[in-house]
């Protein structure tokens, strides 16, 4: 098994945004038999590094929010294997319809860490021009579609895009991410139903993290599993251990093969646990106990993969310490750069409402410009 010879270089490629973690390790081939596909060797190490980066970013961003340096943050700790494994199974031409806990997916697809951090700071470097709260990313180049806050609305979008791809005869699949709570939403039903009827090449990737803010999974639905809901829509649903990056990868890879082969959609329920709060506005001690969280920490996907890699002789404590230190430095540099980036231009407020501003919007822009600059404050 290959050694992680240049972790620093790979992390820098994230910052530069020119290469993804995936493409910086090994070119992918598409074997005929999806069951034979597995994450191994350099790609498994790459997966591990991204998972550690994701965790380190979570820790840092929670602190940034507490310090008042960013306005909000939705952590993904405990879901790293599900995020990385699923993202690595998709191809560059595929489309991603994320919820708000999927920044790691964008990183895997080659979005730079700097772009992610700039969005959190809503600064002039933000690809979305400071229009949204933190975690509501949009990265065109990576087909990482704009995130909204209403729950489940992206599910039908993924189905429509998949239908469009098939209409264009493109070998493309779409994947949409959502949580256990979203399975109760209107668009979950509409999206899965449409996908079944139109045999859309879509993967419904449900991260069942046990909690929809304060509501536990068993209060969301009486279904024994979330995956079994697929049966009623006429396509397969599978449960995977979301703490096992390899299992997630294989399941999504198989679903992707099905999709592009014209065999229709798949619902995947990745069973994970939300180790942190729903968001920085949430106090989970109000609705769940510490023993439950501690038990979940015993199943931590990062610990699990580290143990696996160490047993295989591909990793050790010294490398791990060096990686963590290196990633923390990289994250700190991205934050420093974001904090040195100017705020968004106040008069950009009127851009992108329409392709071209209407006369009314131009008049409002002039009205806004007439206010003294000192009265304007960036978020």
């Amino acid at each position: 098994m290959g050694m992680p010879s240049r972790p620093t270089l790979i992390v820098r490629s994230l910052v530069a945004g020119r290469r993804s973690v995936v493409s910086s390790t090994a070119p992918r081939s598409a074997p005929a038999d999806p069951a034979s596909e597995a994450l191994g060797g350099a790609r498994l190490l790459s997966a591990y590094r991204t998972m550690v980066l994701a965790r380190a970013l979570d820790e840092r961003c929670l602190a940034l929010q507490r310090q008042g340096r960013i306005g909000f943050y939705a952590p993904h700790s405990g879901e790293e294997a599900a995020l990385v494994g699923s993202a690595m199974a998709m191809e560059p031409d595929d489309w991603i319809f994320p919820a708000y806990r999927e920044l790691t997916v964008a990183l895997v697809r080659g979005t730079s860490l700097q772009s992610v951090v700039d969005q959190l700071f809503a600064d002039a470097g933000d690809a979305s021009k400071g229009r949204q709260m933190p975690n509501h990313f949009a990265f065109r180049e990576q087909h990482f579609v704009s995130v909204s806050s209403p729950i489940g609305t992206q599910i039908t979008h993924a189905v429509g895009a998949a239908m469009a791809a098939r209409y264009r005869k493109a070998p493309v699949a779409t994947i949409t991410y959502f949580g256990d709570g979203a399975t109760s939403s209107n668009d979950f039903h509409a999206g899965l139903n449409f996908a079944g009827v139109f045999r859309a090449p879509t993967i419904f990737f449900c991260q069942n993290n046990e909690w929809a803010i304060s509501l536990p999974r068993e209060r969301q639905t009486r279904s024994a599993t979330l995956a079994m809901k697929a049966e009623a829509y006429g396509f397969p649903g599978v449960v995977v251990d979301g703490n096992d990056v390899g299992e997630v990868y294989r399941a999504v890879r198989a679903a992707r093969h099905r999709a592009v082969a014209g065999e229709g959609p798949t619902l995947i329920e990745a069973q994970v646990y939300r180790l942190g709060p729903h968001s920085t506005s949430d106090d989970p001690r109000r609705y769940r106990n510490d023993q439950e969280v501690e038990a979940a920490r015993g199943r931590d996907p990062i610990h699990r993969l580290r143990t696996e890699l160490t047993k295989a002789g591909a990793w050790d404590d010294a490398r791990d310490a060096a990686l963590v230190e290196d990633l923390r430095g990289t994250i700190a540099a991205a934050i420093a750069r974001a904090e040195a980036t100017p705020p968004v231009d106040p008069l950009s407020l009127f851009d992108d409402v329409f392709a071209r501003a209407t006369p009314r919007l131009e008049a409002e822009r002039e009205e806004c410009a007439a206010h003294p600059a000192a009265e304007r404050k960036s978020p």
């Binding site: 489309w95 319809f97 933000d126 690809a127 979305s128 021009k129 400071g130 229009r131 949204q132 509501h136 949009a138 990265f139 065109r140 579609v145 704009s146 909204s148 209403p150 609305t153 599910i155 039908t156 979008h157 993924a158 189905v159 429509g160 895009a161 998949a162 239908m163 469009a164 791809a165 209409y167 264009r168 779409t174 209107n186 668009d187 039903h189 509409a190 999206g191 139903n193 449409f194 009827v197 139109f198 851009d351 992108d352 409402v353 329409f354 392709a355 209407t358 006369p359 009314r360």
Partner: protein, 325 residues
């Protein structure tokens, strides 16, 4: 030129758009085999096939949500909502997703969907086949809202809607789907957004209307002419963007304004027109602005004709406005 009804003109507009661009697809309930409950999509399935004319399951959020996904991928979907009254399951998709996609992504993800819906009363449709709730959509930044009142505008505005880069709510006055006929230019003849149409010129009172109220306003204006009142009728036809210049120019000439719509009065589109005049034409006004609208009640079944503005109510408002001050 071809003589068509308004609904036939919608049909020709869709046909023309689909012939000229393979990215245009049509989806909705009963739009394929059945040709739409009003026959607006008749013949499209036969000509363009099931890949481009999609009979969908009965879910408005599914129709608009999947249309959004198609548009993000690069297609130009035209979604039909069977009646405007049934659009609310898709309201979240329209106001939270469709309207905001371009803005919230900083311009990275334009999202061009045309949502067509028959709207308005006068067909004995009761509460849920009659409402005129265009103001909900006009109030949402990021949506364009247009309403034709003639066959030529139905086709011309629809072609503009499909060619536009922004989401468009295209509302069709079903009451006059078949009662109004007119000459419609052949081919890809577009009517631009943001330009009002002067239906009849006049110099005493300006009457602003749109959709099915345009014939009502025109009839009333013609009726008061014998009384020596010269009423100018302007079909707004593009509510967002609104041709503010045309509204202001007309009132600069007449000094008197009547706004007619079938939607409820409170916070209706007429309030915006009245506010525009109060803000920017105040010193031209010689009389209070009048609004002739549906009442602030739910839409009634048996009393539909009491609720809807008619010739008598509009004529009375024109007279009162002409004589005031």
């Amino acid at each position: 030129m071809t003589e068509l009804t308004l609904v036939q003109a919608v049909n020709r507009g869709l046909q023309e758009a689909m012939r000229s661009d393979p990215d245009v697809v049509v989806l909705g309930e009963d739009v394929g085999v059945n040709g739409g409950v009003f026959r607006a999509t008749e013949g499209l399935l036969k000509e363009f096939g099931a890949d481009r004319v999609l009979d969908t399951p009965l879910s408005e959020t599914g129709i608009v949500g999947s249309a959004i996904g198609m548009a993000l991928y690069g297609l130009k979907p035209v979604a039909e909502i069977q009646f405007l009254d049934f659009i609310y399951p898709a309201f979240d998709q329209i106001v939270s997703e469709l309207a905001k996609m371009r803005y919230r992504s900083g311009g990275q993800f334009p999202c061009h969907v045309v949502v067509r819906a028959p709207y308005g009363g006068g067909i004995k449709g009761g509460l849920y086949h009659s409402q005129s709730t265009e103001a909900y959509f006009c109030h949402t930044a990021g949506l364009k809202v247009v309403i034709p009142s003639t066959p030529a505008d139905a086709k011309g505005l629809l072609l503009s809607a499909v060619a536009d880069e922004d989401p468009v709510i295209f509302l069709e006055p079903k009451r006059i789907y078949r009662s109004v006929t007119g000459e419609v230019p052949d081919g890809d003849q577009r009517v631009p957004f943001g330009v009002a149409r002067t239906v009849r010129p006049g110099h005493d009172v300006s009457v602003f209307a749109y959709g099915a109220m345009v014939p009502v306003a025109t009839e009333a204006a013609a009726g008061v002419e014998a009384e020596g009142i010269s009423a100018e009728v302007i079909d707004l036809r593009s509510l967002v963007p609104l041709d503010e210049a045309a509204v202001l120019a007309s009132v600069a000439k007449t000094g008197r304004a009547v706004v007619v719509h079938e939607a409820a009065r409170f916070c209706g589109f007429g309030a915006e027109v009245a506010a525009l005049l109060a803000e920017r034409a105040f010193f031209s006004l010689k009389a209070p602005i009048a609004r002739v609208t549906g009442y602030d009640t739910p839409f009634p079944y048996a009393l539909e004709n009491v609720y809807l503005p008619d010739n008598g109510r509009v004529a009375a408002a024109i007279r009162a406005t002409a004589q005031a001050g």
